[in-house]
């Protein structure tokens, strides 16, 4: 049964959103007060949605995995946020931002969603300025911009190298205002354990209070999932330690379809791995590629000598350096999209030109930028990033080139949503990185912040009303029903089961094993043989987890080992559909690179004939094969081309 209806409004692309808003149903203020909304997650999407819905008058409950919304991982986004303001008079427009995003996503995103994103981008900047977000300004007092990968205009707004922090604090402040006003209630240190579905509609959630282990029931007329992405399936990623795909998996198990799980973004500029004890990877903002030049030695013997510590990068003459991005992609140079920059780095390192002790690193060099702009200017632009690099690596990046290597960073896949950001379960919405909607097979830099805030400030407050308008006859959702009791019971049974295993393997060791399988076989370069190997390996790992995991401590207290174990169990489930999705997609597009499908020059080769669709996975039950549905992508307004950044 194919039930996918993307509900894209009729009409010209530029008129769809306007028409939708003009004809959607609204809820009057007196009724808004009677309607409850649950928001799970307090990052950009969750905080902005809760603040906006609260300001409209809905009764909002928001759930935060940490002690404060300000900890959400949106805070770590460094570079900036895109908007089509065209303040620079360099030819930007809503149409161009739309086009760049679709092209950047390798023609695997929905036209109508992306156009709406580009349309509301300008309002986001205005909103944030009004909140007191201290964006960088020029000497005239106007907002400043920088350029970012995948674009030929300067449309990125920024606040030093801490844009995500400032935007999140903006959303957090708006949320704090609503908490004070009493329209939003905040529940901190809670993790979602299950979704409750009543008569086919999302009606609430079960949470675990992380401080005392209490299992709690919460009812509402609608639920928003804004819990971010699932990059931590790879164990080592730039995601924060608490980032997880658990909530999305719970929804998937309750009937929400999961779209494009194989689309994972590998970020080209991260600090390389040092050792087995490594717990996470640190991203160096893509904005560094504005002024930094990426290179490896031209001669393989130089690379060898560097790895052995016999040669320093500063001793390599200009003519012996291979600025491979500038060489291969003269038009975009160091600013090619992330997937291309990542694969190019892997290609050089695999060919033996990698640097650093492990050989899995390339240089990002600021020598010519310092010569051109002066050290002060470079420090003003990237000072905090340079400081962070020096702190971690103990090398001064003003004097020596930085070393970088690609790492898992963002997941384009996520819960399938229609134009209204509603999943296949009525009343369940997904926003931000948790949904799949806007980035296709690859996300452009500075677009995640844009999407999270677009969904929360400007999309959900409209589309959710359209759903809630016919819920005004529904009285308060009681949590004393069979559905809630059953959900709570199954959560408790699952947790007791995990605690009872008392096996030999620590959660961390199993997590590392999962990460290893995913990075080696479902990582940057994928092929049929490896993917076919990964699937049974994951099945074995699942068995190993459920028979041999060791979780100490107890259920009814603060227990980080148990928290990690619950998430790991869900991550293994996700890994399985990621591998299956990667196997079925016999083409290379965006972040999904299949080594069998390349052009003669070694570039990714898309297959629009057979794969211009969204792979949408339906859970069929424990020990059953999931079923994949297809949502065909139709490009009515854009001319589909082979992506070319040369």
């Amino acid at each position: 049964m194919n039930t996918l209806n993307s509900k894209i409004p009729e009409g010209q692309l530029s008129e769809k959103w306007t028409k939708y808003k003009a004809s959607q149903k609204l809820v009057n203020p007196a009724n808004k007060r009677k309607l409850d909304v649950i928001v799970v997650g307090t990052g950009l999407a969750g905080s902005s949605a809760a603040a906006s819905l609260g300001a409209l008058g809905f009764n909002v409950k928001i759930f935060c995995i940490s002690d404060s919304p300000r900890r959400a991982h949106s805070i770590a986004a460094q570079g900036g946020i895109n908007a089509a303001k065209n303040y620079q008079n360099d030819g930007d427009s809503v149409d161009r931002l739309f086009y760049d995003t679709i092209k950047g996503g390798d023609y695997r995103a929905r036209e109508a969603n992306v156009y709406r994103l580009a349309e509301v981008s300008n309002s986001i900047i205005d909103q944030c300025v009004a909140q007191g977000v201290p964006f960088a300004r020029d000497y005239a007092g106007m907002l400043d911009n920088r350029s970012f990968g995948g674009a030929q205009v300067s449309r990125t707004f920024y606040a030093k190298g801490q844009t995500g922090q400032q935007l999140l604090l903006g959303a957090y402040s708006a949320l704090s205002k609503e908490i004070k006003a009493g329209t939003v209630k905040m529940y901190e240190r809670r993790e979602m354990m299950d979704l409750v579905v009543v008569d086919g509609r999302a009606r609430g959630i079960i949470t675990r209070n992380l401080q005392n282990g209490e299992i709690e029931r919460w009812g509402a007329h609608a639920v928003v999932i804004a819990t971010g992405g699932y990059g931590n399936v790879y164990y080592l990623s730039t995601n924060a330690m608490n980032c997880n795909g658990s909530a999305a998996v719970q929804c998937y198990h309750k009937g929400a379809f999961f779209a494009n799980p194989c689309y994972v973004q590998i970020h080209p500029t991260c600090i390389p791995v040092k050792g087995e004890y490594q717990s996470k990877l640190t991203l160096m903002s893509e904005s560094l590629r504005n002024d930094g030049r990426i290179w490896v030695p031209k001669k393989i013997e130089d690379a060898q000598a560097i790895r052995e510590g016999k040669l320093k990068p500063t001793e390599i003459a200009e003519e012996d350096r291979d600025y491979y991005l500038e060489r291969r992609y003269p038009a975009f140079g160091n600013l090619v999209p992330r997937d291309i920059a990542s694969r190019a780095a892997k290609e050089r390192c695999d060919a033996g030109y990698g640097v650093g002790a492990t050989g899995f690193a390339v240089y990002l060099d600021f020598k010519s930028a310092i010569e051109r702009l002066g050290k002060d200017k470079v420090e003003e632009r990237y000072g905090n990033l340079f400081q962070m690099y020096e702190e971690i690596v103990a090398v001064n990046p003003y004097e020596n080139p930085m070393m970088i290597y690609p790492a898992v960073h963002y997941t384009m896949g996520g819960l399938w949503v229609d134009y209204e950001l509603q999943t296949t379960i009525p009343g369940l919405f997904a926003a931000g990185e948790a949904n799949f909607s806007d980035h296709g097979a690859n996300r452009l830099g500075a677009s995640a912040l844009m999407q999270g805030l677009a969904d929360g400030y400007f999309v959900l407050p409209y589309t959710m009303q359209n759903y809630l308008s016919d819920q005004i006859y529904q009285s308060k959702i009681s949590t004393e029903t069979e559905e809630f009791a059953n959900a709570e019971k199954s959560v408790k049974e699952k947790l007791e089961k995990i605690m009872a295993i008392k096996g030999e393997k620590t959660v961390d060791s199993l997590q590392r094993a999962l990460g290893h399988i995913m990075w080696e076989y479902v990582g940057m370069g994928r092929n049929r043989e490896n993917l076919q190997k990964a699937i049974p390996m994951l099945e074995n790992l699942k068995k190993e987890f459920w028979s041999n995991v060791r979780v100490t401590g107890d259920l009814n207290s603060l227990n980080p080992e148990l928290e990690k174990a619950i998430r790991l169990a869900d991550h293994i489930e996700l890994a399985q559909i990621m591998a299956k999705d990667a196997l079925q997609r016999e083409e290379s597009c965006g972040g999904h690179f299949r080594e069998e499908y390349v052009t003669e020059e070694g570039e990714a080769k898309r297959n629009d004939q057979d794969f211009m669709f969204v792979g949408v996975w339906e859970y069929k039950g424990k020990d059953q094969e999931p079923v994949m549905h297809k949502e065909d992508l139709k490009y009515e307004f854009i001319n589909v081309q082979q992506r070319n950044y040369k």
Partner: protein, 253 residues
């Protein structure tokens, strides 16, 4: 590198805490402080004991979630970094490292090294915002802001809300934290209309919650991982006095 760790263990808010001593060896100097604790915890799980609980999240020094008192300093001996950005190369081989939670009355201990810092959120809820609701705002360039003011506001806005300033202060004062937010919004034209109400309400809440007063020792500034300046406190005091003396506006919203 080898270390002896003296770590504060406490089961819950009400339980009596104590120091426990652990030995740990073969730690790489490039290992981060939290990764060193990960290694300790994995070994504790292998011995079937309960791992040391500590807050942490981004491990990039920006979320403000981590924070512990290390050898008598919040976030450890290194300057301008959070605990997650502290590396073992900053310690000497064989050293004994003492690890405690933040100690301040408004931050009750939840477990081991984890404290409850929601008091800081409660202060922000009293006015640490511009009361702009979504939509209906002017164009971002409609009100010009001098680069100098925008940069200064950004410096104040860099606070990560970790609570090190409170932990460092002998009075458990939150003045640096509160003043950073008051300053950011007082420096920007968008924050001006509510400035007088904001500073009064936030200060009142800070006092209510049991944070102490500032007696100008500046331990907060010295220990702040984001190097937030004490000039913010001076600005807040000015704002506060002006609001008390010069403003006719009520603090009621």
């Amino acid at each position: 590198m080898d270390f002896t760790l003296k770590i504060w263990r406490q089961e819950n808010r009400k339980a009596k805490g104590r120091f426990e001593t652990y030995k740990i060896s073969n730690i790489s100097p490039d290992c981060s402080f939290l990764e060193m604790l990960d290694i300790l915890n994995e070994s504790l799980v292998n011995k079937l004991s309960h791992p040391v609980c500590f807050d942490n999240d981004c491990r990039e020094g920006i979320c403000g979630m981590c924070g512990m008192y290390i050898n008598g300093h919040p976030h450890g001996p290194d300057k301008g970094v959070t605990t997650c950005q502290l590396y073992m190369r900053k310690f000497t081989d064989g050293e004994t490292i003492t690890i405690e939670p933040w100690r301040a009355r408004p931050f009750p201990i939840i477990r081991d090294l984890i404290v409850d810092r929601t008091a800081l959120d409660k202060i922000i809820q009293e006015g640490g915002y511009v009361s702009a609701t979504t939509g209906g705002v002017p164009d971002g360039n409609a009100i010009l802001i001098s680069k100098h003011k925008a940069d200064e506001a950004m410096d104040s806005a860099s606070c990560i809300g970790c609570g090190a300033c409170v932990a460092a202060c002998k009075n458990a004062s939150a003045m640096l934290f509160v003043s950073a937010k008051v300053s950011q919004l007082a420096l920007l034209p968008q924050g001006k209309p509510e400035a007088a109400i904001r500073v009064q309400n936030m200060v009142a809440k800070m006092d209510d919650l049991g944070f102490g007063n500032c007696t100008n020792t500046y331990a907060c500034e010295a220990e702040c991982p984001k190097q937030i300046k004490r000039s913010n406190i001076a600005r807040m005091n000015r704002e506060f006095i002006c609001a008390k003396v010069g403003s006719e506006e009520s603090t009621k919203r």
